[in-house]
Amino acid sequence: MEIKNINPFLPAEWQKKAEASTEPAAAGHFGNLLKKALNHVNELQLKAEAAAIDLALGEVEDVHQAMIAMEQAKLAMELTVQVRNKIVDAYQEIMRMQI
């Protein structure tokens, strides 16, 4: 998924300038950052799932390790949900714009 910034309604030469200035930021593109963060959250979720399976099988030595893994996954998930809410809010704000 690639999120592109909204093109400002500007005269042609200004627009060129604006595009040139956003170009170097492509490496740290918001979409890429989001993707990276989501991958990390997914990793934590998988870790929590593995911990839960170990716990069910009785293979876990420290109960707190399993609990902490699950808690970390939960917190990372909540952070993701909050970020998603902010993005959706921004999107809806723009959609409500009068044209």
């Binding site: 707190h64 808690e71 902010k86």
Partner: protein, 135 residues
């Protein structure tokens, strides 16, 4: 992930306290043990903790540096019928003080609880931060 540094630090504390509990359990279980696998008397075990440098520099976890065996004189009891009695009829028992073990047990339990409290505090701070800008 730097986000969960507090949790990792507390987790190392929890693991350390649990190990301490294991050693106390071992000491109490072996309070009258006269022989071990090495053929010697059971010795009271204590854990030596060392601070561990975290990668980020902030906050240090704890690790178990060593498990020490107490080298004090055994507790001698007269019992000539015991198979491990010496020529004079005395049996060497480990010098474990039950009162001391129980006090250590309370310390370990409370320290474990304290670590859980810190962990929960970190968690509520994280959740509080997520409330920024809400409402």
């Amino acid at each position: 992930m730097k986000m969960f540094q507090t949790m990792r630090t507390s987790a190392s504390g929890l693991a350390a306290e649990r190990l301490r509990l294991d050693l106390i359990a071992s000491n109490i279980a072996n309070i009258s043990t006269t022989r071990t696998e090495s053929g010697e008397l059971y010795r009271r075990k204590t854990a030596v903790f060392a601070a561990e440098l975290a990668k980020s520099g902030a906050g240090q976890g704890v690790r178990v540096a060593a498990i020490e065996e107490q080298q004090t004189d055994p507790r001698w009891e007269y019992d000539p019928t015991h198979p491990d009695a010496n020529a004079d009829g005395y049996v060497a028992y480990p010098n474990i003080n039950l009162l001391q073990e129980m006090t250590d047990l309370i310390t370990a339990t409370r320290a474990y609880e304290a670590n859980v409290t810190v962990l929960n505090a970190g968690k509520s701070m994280f959740l509080k931060a997520l409330e920024i800008g809400r409402g």
